[in-house]
Amino acid sequence: MDLPAFIAPLIIGSSIIAILFPIQRLQGVWLVLTLCLGAGLGLGITSATIFLWLTLIGSPDSYYFAAELSLAAILAFFAFYRIHYSADATKKKSGLCHETNPATIRWLRNIFLFLLVISVGSFLLKTFLQDPHGKWDAVDTWNFRARWLFRGGADWSYAFSLRARDGLDYPLLITASVFRMWQILGKDPIAVPIFIAGIFTFGSVLLLFSSIALLRGSNQGYLAAILLFLSTQYLNIGTYQYADVPLAFFILATVFLFSLKDRCPELSSPLVFLAGLTVSCAAWTKNEGQLLLALVIFIYFVGRLRKQEWLETLKELIGFTIGLAPILGTLVYFKLNFALENAHIGANSLKQMGTYLVDIDRYIIVGSKFIVKFLTFNDGLVGLMAGYLFLAGLDRSDLIKKRILSPIILLLLMTCSYFFVYIIYPGNPINLLSASLRRIIIQLWLTWVFLFFYCVKGPEKNASIPANAARSF
């Protein structure tokens, strides 16, 4: 019974990707991408299904696990079929097999693997021997609720009751994933939340590597992943079992899928479907993910309407919505029936909010904190990136230039939105800044690193995927 707890989400998520992208020989970078993105998506999907089962049918029992395993088996069958019988046609259509991968710099790959092993060691030591239950938010919110769902019996809904603290409307991807594994195992070992935190922490590294490797070549991918290892605060937050790292994972997955769509327009239907799925997983992870959802629709769909590609945009929006619907529907169901009102929403009257919005002192406080925190993040890692940019320069090919605008606007708008949340915060913004600004940076950091290495010159001669007609924001 133990093994399905861990592999069913992986099979479900990976099979969906394999069905949509039937690469004949699922190996190398594609295999890494399929497994790490599949694990994240699988956790998103199974956390939604177990929550729905719990609320609509009752405590998940052997019928639930049989249903989940059946779903995994059916998807795996279709994935197998697609890979073996219809990969050739798709490949000819997509042009993905015409990749020109430059030779891997072996020592760079070896350093990446060495640092990966050391980082996994750091993660295991820090989680199992220092903070097995995670830091404040993990104990207060994510694992607290998971314990109630598992141990609470008939009183499981107490997990969502007003019990004097914040986070009453926080979404459930992490909580329900932990609960799901505990429920299957029949006990609640602390190794489970650690395992899930590890999947997202190192899944982020592998997703960053594989996405850059597909768009710019594997050496550039190794370099990007090495920079992420250098961001020790990212690993730290991962060991705390906070939801910021899973959110960062899904933000990167979404931006990458839209970047891949721009490079391979013929694959737009499956890519926007997957992007819908990743955005909904982000929204199911943290409330900030709902902001991502709104901005993605604004930038990638509404923003394209001015190009008068109405029909194509509408088709993509439909595909995106189909991908979005199952998990977003679960989130809406949770918000309407179980989540209590967010402490920050409604705490401000419109008049008070207006006062804050014209208070110049607030802008100075929040703005200066933002700049200082960003420049000094992880001991000034931004300076190192500036040094790299100075020495290497930007890749000025049209291939890249036209395609980075949308994701950059997306990240800047997210940053601006966070900025204004601090401005209108009902209370002293310094307290909130001290408590959360580093984590806000972490949420976007992974995607900034992706965009940085997507744009700068690296130790590569050729891009992996040939250019197609530019179609972006």
């Binding site: 430059p102 710099i105 020592w107 760079l108 350093i111 640092l115 050391i118 980082s119 060691g121 750091s122 030591l125 820090k126 021997l129 220092q130 903070d131 097995p132 239950h133 404040w136 104990v139 207060d140 694992n143 607290f144 314990r147 109630w148 141990r151 609470g152 019996g153 008939a154 009183d155 107490y158 019990r163 004097a164 603290r165 370099l223 090495i226 920079l227 290892f229 250098l230 020790t232 690993l235 190192l384 040094g387 790299y388 020495l391 290497a392 320069g393 700068v456 010159k457 690296g458 130790p459 590569e460 001669k461």
Partner: protein
């Protein structure tokens, strides 16, 4: 004449070295090293710092401590019951740690409303305090005391 020969030799060696390096880095050699070298050292230093913290036991593992301390009383509390919780800890995470550890028992902070059982978490008082309406039921001897409401 000899100077020119040496200079030519040096240039050839330099060109050969450049060609060798270029095999590994078609371009942006210095920039790549700017990332790789600090990463190599910082990741190792980070690992060593964690090992050092663990050996010196510097990190305060609050939830683990609470799990150990409240393990015995947890056996005596009826599942899904509601208990009052009083503590003289100043730690901001005291209540949430206790509530987390005692699940599926619901924890109510303070003495009101009164429930049948009261858990007192005593961190720094030599003599046990008295709580009106409650009588001592069991002292677990590890800073944890259980009181029962008087009939």
């Amino acid at each position: 004449m000899a100077g020119t020969m040496i200079s030519n030799k040096l240039n050839k060696i330099k060109a050969w070295a450049d060609a060798q390096l270029s095999k590994y880095f078609p371009k942006v050699r210095g920039a790549v090293l700017l990332i790789v070298i600090p990463a190599f050292f910082i990741v190792i230093i980070y690992f060593i710092s964690i090992v050092t913290e663990i050996i010196k036991d510097e990190e305060y593992r609050s939830v683990v401590d609470y799990e150990a301390r409240l393990a015995a009383i947890k056996q005596d509390l009826p599942p899904n019951s509601i208990v009052n919780y009083v503590s003289n800890s100043k730690a901001p995470d005291d209540l949430i740690n206790a509530a987390y550890v005692l699940i599926p028992v619901r924890v109510v902070e303070g003495l009101k409303p009164m429930h049948d059982l009261l858990v007192f978490h005593n961190f720094n008082i030599a003599e046990l305090p008295e709580f009106g309406g409650y009588a001592l039921k069991k002292n677990y001897g590890n800073k944890v005391i259980l009181y029962k409401r008087n009939k």
